[in-house]
C-alpha cells in the first residue's frame, strides 16, 4: 500500500474537492465537503481496498491523511 494510491482512493470519496488539493498533509476534516457520510465512505473504502476495519474513532483521531494512512498500515 502506497500513500499515493491511498490518497487517490481517499480523494475518490469526494465530489467537489479538487483531486490535486489532496496531499499527505491535508487536514481532511476541515474540507468544506467533509461530512459524516464521507467518514462512512472512507471506512467502507478502507475495508474494500485494504481489508482493514477502521473505526469512527480512528478518523476522529486523525488530523491528516498521513495520520489515517499510518493507522491503516499498522493494522495490515
Amino acid at each position: 500500500m502506497s500513500i499515493t494510491e491511498f490518497i487517490e482512493n481517499f480523494a475518490d470519496q469526494f465530489d467537489e474537492t479538487d483531486v490535486t488539493s489532496f496531499t499527505p498533509e491535508t487536514k481532511f476534516k476541515q474540507l468544506d465537503e467533509w461530512s459524516s457520510l464521507t467518514a462512512l465512505s472512507i471506512i467502507a473504502m478502507v475495508d474494500d481496498e485494504y481489508d482493514v476495519i477502521i473505526k469512527g474513532n480512528d478518523i476522529l483521531n486523525s488530523e491528516t491523511i498521513q495520520d489515517l494512512f499510518d493507522i491503516i498500515e499498522k493494522q495490515q
Binding site: 457520510l37 462512512l40 465512505s41 467502507a44 473505526k55 469512527g56 474513532n57
Partner: protein, 252 residues
Amino acid sequence: MEPNYNPFSLAGKTILVTGASSGIGQSTAIACSRMGARVVVTARNQERLQQTYEQLNNVVEGHMQQLADLTSQEDLEHLLAMLPPLDGAVLCAGNSTTLPLQFGSREKFDDMFNVNFFAPVELLRLLYKKKRLNKGASVVLVASIGGTHSFMPGNGVYGASKAALNSVMKYAAREYASRKVRVNSICPGMVDTPLIHRGTITEEQLAEDAKNYPLGRYGMPEDIANGAIYLLSDASSWLTGHDLVIDGGFSI
C-alpha cells in the same frame, strides 16, 4: 387496583426468544420469564446464552436453552426438534451494518439478508408448517424504523432487510389467522445495545444523534421488551399484522 387483574400476564405460556444472548433478545427473554412465561432461549454464543438462561426468573420452572445459528439449516432443524408447543415467539436475532449504498455490493446485501431476513422467515415458516405454534399463539418479529425511514446515513442495506421482514410479517398475519396465530412486528428506533457500539459510528456521533429523538434519548432494550410483552399477551388478542413503532418519537 385489583391484585389479580393483569391482561399482560404471560402465565401459562411457553415462549421462544431468538437472539437471546444480548440486547433486545436478552432483555425480552428475561422480561417474559418475569411475566410468568416458560421461556426457550436460543442464540449462537454458548457462554452468553448461559448467562441469559441464568437470569431467567424462576417463578415458572422448565426454561430451556438451545444453541443455534439460525442461518444453518442443521441448527434450525435441531431447534425445531427440541421445541415444545409454543404460545409465542419473539424473533430478535439479527445484525446491522453501517455502509453507504455505493459500497452495498450483492455480497454485503446477501450477508445482511441471510441473518435479518432469510433466517427469521425460514423459522417463521417452519414454526407454522410443522405446527409448533398453538392455536392463539403470537409471533413477534423485530424489524426497525430503518425499514421505513432513512433514520441514519449508511443504513440502506440493513433497512432493506428489515423492510422485507416487515412485509412478510403482514402476509404471515393474514395467512396464519386461520389458526388464530397472530403475527406482528416491532419497529424500534435506535436502541442502546452492543450492536450500535461497534465503533463505526463514534460515541460522540451517537450522543449527537440521540438528540434527534423527541423523548431525548435512545431506547433501552426494556422499552422494546415491554412492547413484546404486550404483543405476546392476551391484551393484544385482536391485534395482528401490525408494526408497532417504538422510537421515542423519532418518526413523528
